[in-house]
Symmetry: C2
Subunit: 273 residues, 2 copies
Amino acid sequence: MNNHEAIGFIDSGVGGLTVVKEALKQLPNERLIYLGDTARCPYGPRPAEQVVQFTWEMTNFLLEKNIKMLVIACNTATAVALEQIKAQLDIPVVGVILPGTRAALKATKNNRVGVIGTAGTIKSGAYEQALQAKAPKTIVTSLACPKFVPIVESNETHSSVAKKVVSETLNPLLLKQLDTLILGCTHYPLLRPLIQNVMGNQVKLIDSGAETVSEVSMLLDYFDLANSLQKKQLSHEFYTTGSAKMFKEIADEWLKLGTLDINQIRLGGTHIE
Amino acid sequence: MNNHEAIGFIDSGVGGLTVVKEALKQLPNERLIYLGDTARCPYGPRPAEQVVQFTWEMTNFLLEKNIKMLVIACNTATAVALEQIKAQLDIPVVGVILPGTRAALKATKNNRVGVIGTAGTIKSGAYEQALQAKAPKTIVTSLACPKFVPIVESNETHSSVAKKVVSETLNPLLLKQLDTLILGCTHYPLLRPLIQNVMGNQVKLIDSGAETVSEVSMLLDYFDLANSLQKKQLSHEFYTTGSAKMFKEIADEWLKLGTLDINQIRLGGTHIE
């Protein structure tokens, strides 16, 4: 089948670009449309109902672009909104929590798995429940890292402040004998070198986003939606509710796609700078 | 969700047990029902219409057992019957060809991929088409190995005859500079050490069955069918249309599940010994 419709990705900000980067690698024939709700980022500290509402607003924006599959590339939104969005849409909808869970259970040898995420994700207990439903013997240590997303969104991942914040935040995990740590927020792979450095090389970091793209690839096949035609130039689209300039700086550095055209849009009651 | 219904596996004979072995490892909470059409094995040389008919007979037998998902753990049957069975059933149906294809494309570095399978699978061109649709630059070398299944079904994988047959059959592949070889028949992992020895350690062997179980795991989550309750004793069921004794010898050695109860059944016009 040659389906020229795009795969849609939504996130609270730039974090989902770590998923897009994997998609560009694993699914070179697919056209991607990305929307980051940067103006209202972070989602982590917001009440669940509000995250659900914002996630629907993003979803509706992409549905008008006629996407063939939706990836909720945001752990906070997946935790609170995946189930109802998946139930109501007639295209496949994929979240980032179950792929990360499966990968962590495959990776751990000592059954001691850590999860780091936003306050919203950790409070939802979504990873903990998924891990223990599949493997009840897993000892799960969860830790909210509310300072990480703002560092990524302000493009300060290379700063000395970032290094200090990551080190101090993760300190409580060091005595837990973890052999596997789930990066339960799509922003965190942008801090990966700092996180790996603090945790040590013996801890395997699970990038939920990369795992999610394997699920997307499988579902494209399963639902016969994969684009088999390798086109010369795929026109990916990027949208943000916030500053296009800041978004572009991070996207250019992370995706290395050459000159990206970033479009600023308005969602719901979003205030644009 | 706790769904106590089983996952069904069908194969022309004992080959699908290589998929079951992976399922026991990756999906310890799931109950499995297996049917091998040993009496009519091999399927490889049979006309496509007949393979389709036999596959439906196996499918109908398992549907009466109220399975929640069907795995066509046979490449020959997947190649000719997956599409129509998937279209007509209201439970998820998984074949072994696309998982193997995705894994091979992930593994290859030089884009030279080999495929070995039964005459039926190779003649269908299913792997070649799937590989080239996804990655048009792939150079695919396909080879039918009609003597492999009879060796496995007669439990002669450790014999000197097996060694000689594998070596002679695979000889034409040695000059093709393959870095990846798809074991495009679920019987072949039982010959894996012999195949690896002939091909050399630089060639990565792709076990379609193992890859298929990752897809099953993902679809169980996607369709909310995973069994989250770890029961003390799962009563897996095994059926064959052929000799229960011969089937048991191979299954016991391969699965190491302790004493297996193998039930002989009749399908369509199957003659039982």
